[in-house]
């Protein structure tokens, strides 16, 4: 894990600084920068030192939990917490929904292979992972927010206010469209995966043997077949959760959802390199943690993988 982390850190830092140091870059966007502020920032970032040293300074700061200072002057660490929660809110809810709906649908599809229901499900699924998530978001906004006026088009309307009555419904309404979009796309992958794995598992001899032993269809499907089929699904779900954490910029932008993705897109847009670096590191850590959890879950489910 460490080498991966270092690898990402290096890539981010060096590319981020590849086009010149951050201060010079801002010049392109700011009209009349205050030379004093610029000097202070220059000093803070040790810009008078060569790139390698700057990298090490940055890394050292990271170890101590200091994510750096954005070019807007604010501490990266201050805002990251809020952004992270906002993104997680969206991703976790969508993932849970996708898994809860996707697994039974995938099982159903596998059991009734070649039926009309199966064809319908697979078609809907394949459209789901063939479309850009954010585009679906745009379409739904056009339909539900502008044409029909049912749902709000943007923002999360603040998050931690779950207790107040109308604030709660407001929060919920703002959540519906983005969650719907994310859930659908994740669902598509899960259904497809579960279906494929179930079909594969159901062909195995031990399923035939289980039936030959008199076990009921439900037991065979859920306790025997699914138990075996689910393992690779867990892996993929875990990995894609990690990827999704970092992959939300477009969707969050469409919904103006103030999470990590939106922040990243804005930061990269104005070339606020330190901020970009900070966000990337945080996301990388979350991805690594997600992968670790996935590996553990896999070992828990499949005894063949465990090291005694």
């Amino acid at each position: 894990m460490i080498p991966v982390f270092l690898g990402v850190a290096m890539l981010t830092f060096f590319v981020g600084n590849a086009a010149g140091n951050p201060i010079d870059l801002i010049r392109i966007f700011l009209k009349n920068p205050n030379p004093a502020v610029l000097d202070a920032l220059r000093h803070y970032y040790h810009l008078d030192r060569p790139v390698w040293e700057r990298f090490l300074y940055w890394l050292w700061d990271l170890m101590q939990g200091n994510l750096g200072v954005s070019l807007s002057g604010r501490q990266v660490a201050d805002q990251i917490g809020l952004w992270t929660i906002t993104t997680l809110e969206l991703q976790v809810i969508s993932l849970v929904l996708a898994v809860v709906i996707g697994i039974p649908v995938g099982v159903y599809s596998a059991e009734h292979q070649y039926s009309k229901g199966d064809y319908a499900i697979t078609t809907v699924a394949i459209f789901g992972y063939s479309m850009p998530t954010f585009w679906l978001g745009i379409m739904l906004i056009i339909v539900f927010s502008f044409e029909l006026g049912w749902l709000p088009a943007s923002g999360a309307s603040g998050i931690s206010y779950l207790w107040g009555g109308s604030l709660f419904t407001d929060w919920l309404l703002h959540l519906i469209l983005p969650v719907a979009v994310l859930t659908y796309v994740t669902l598509a992958t899960i259904v497809r995966l579960v279906r494929a794995n179930m079909l594969e598992t159901l062909r195995q001899d031990y399923i035939l043997a289980a039936r030959a032993s008199g076990l009921s269809e439900r037991t065979v499907t859920y306790r025997y077949a699914l138990r075996n089929a689910i393992t690779p699904v867990v892996t993929v779900v875990g990995l894609s959760f990690g990827a999704a954490l970092g992959g939300a910029p477009a969707t969050e932008t469409v919904f103006s959802w103030p999470g990590l993705g939106y922040a990243f897109a804005r930061a990269a847009g104005v070339l606020d390199i330190p901020l970009v670096q900070g966000i990337t590191i945080v996301i990388t850590i979350m991805v690594l943690v997600a992968n670790l959890i996935t590996d553990l879950a896999y070992a828990a489910l499949d005894p063949r993988v465990r090291i005694d």
Binding site: L208, A209, A212, S213, G214, S216, Y224, R227, L301, P303
Partner: protein
């Protein structure tokens, strides 16, 4: 003696995207109680599907489309799914070919055995566990206590197959289908497993259907033999007669394909491949590979004819041909 199992004119077809595969196309087989019969043929002959049909566990897209199956006096095809489930693993059971794939890799041995015991018998968990232990001892597994908690992938092929046998016999079934139980095992282990099956059959008074392509096993284990090819029956007789006086060219070819130490001539290979089961050849289904085929063989399906008491054959020319048997 009463016939425990009577299958008459069974047809099981698979309705696939590529066409209708006639895996079992008019097979009739019967076994008397307590005896062992052999169901012989190459892969694709329909032997496994016949067993699956009796237990009514034919996987999709297969369906039993015609025929009757009587077990212990009852019509199996008339039973409901719930009633069939009570019989599977209980009154009739199967031992599969590859123990690596027929045992569930994510459950322990104990769980796989206990699940079935708990399903069919009124036992507590403790009793089931004890019984499972006893079963392992019976099939000759050393250190059964530690093996109980093992996962299949931790065991050798021979041991896995013994466990598969233990699982099949856990509820003392009346009828056992052994589907190529030794094909995937080392030669040295094969003999052990076959002996185990023989011994258990005697002990339990089971009726056994030995499904195999190996005539050597047939000679060793069975009292009667039915020879299958491409979903149809070619010949049926008691084992000794079949070996010494075969009346079907396919049977002769199968016998010739078994090497023996005393043999000095070259092994004869049966040329060609099994036919396409979606569009089987017209007339006798074996004619493309038969060295005795004549015009009539390509046009008409041979009838099921009696050679002598208990010996039947489906061949147009069986009267004219003099085929070589073995002793």
């Amino acid at each position: 003696m009463t016939k425990l199992l009577e299958v008459t004119d069974l047809r099981t077809y698979f309705f696939t995207e590529a066409g209708v595969v006639k895996a079992v196309d008019g097979i009739s087989v019967s076994v008397e109680e307590g005896k062992t019969i052999g169901l012989v043929g190459e892969s694709g002959s329909g032997k496994s599907v016949t067993a699956q049909s009796v237990l009514r566990i034919v996987p999709r897209p297969g369906k039993i489309v015609d025929g009757t199956i009587r077990f212990d006096g009852e019509d199996l095809l008339a039973k409901s799914e719930a009633e069939m489930r009570k019989m599977r693993g209980n009154k009739m059971a199967v031992v599969f070919q590859d123990p690596t794939t027929s045992l569930n890799p994510v459950y322990t041995v104990r769980k796989q055995l206990a699940d079935i015991l708990l399903l069919h018998k009124d036992l507590t968990k403790d009793q089931a566990n004890k019984t499972a232990l006893g079963l392992l001892e019976k099939v000759g597994i050393p250190e059964p206590e530690s093996r109980l908690n093992a996962y299949p992938h931790e065991l050798s092929g021979g041991m896995k197959q013994r466990i598969a046998i233990a699982r099949a016999l856990s509820c003392e079934p009346k009828l056992l289908f052994a589907d190529e139980p030794t094909t995937n095992l080392d030669v040295t282990i094969q003999a052990q497993v076959l002996d185990l099956l023989k011994q258990l059959q005697k002990e339990y008074g089971m009726t056994m259907v030995m499904i195999t392509h190996d005539m050597g096993i047939v000679a060793d284990m069975t009292e009667r033999v039915t020879v299958l090819y491409a979903g149809k029956v070619m010949e049926e007789a008691d084992t000794l007669t079949l070996f010494t006086n075969p009346k079907h060219p396919y049977t002769e070819a199968l016998l010739k394909a078994v090497p023996s130490v005393a043999q000095t001539r070259a092994l004869e290979v049966i040329p060609g491949n099994i036919p396409n089961l979606i569009e089987p050849p017209p007339g006798c289904v074996f004619h493309p590979r038969c060295k005795f085929a004549k015009d009539i063989c390509m046009k008409e399906n041979p009838r099921w004819e009696k050679v002598s008491d208990g010996h039947y054959v489906a061949c147009h020319r069986w009267r004219e041909l003099s085929l070589e048997g073995r002793s």
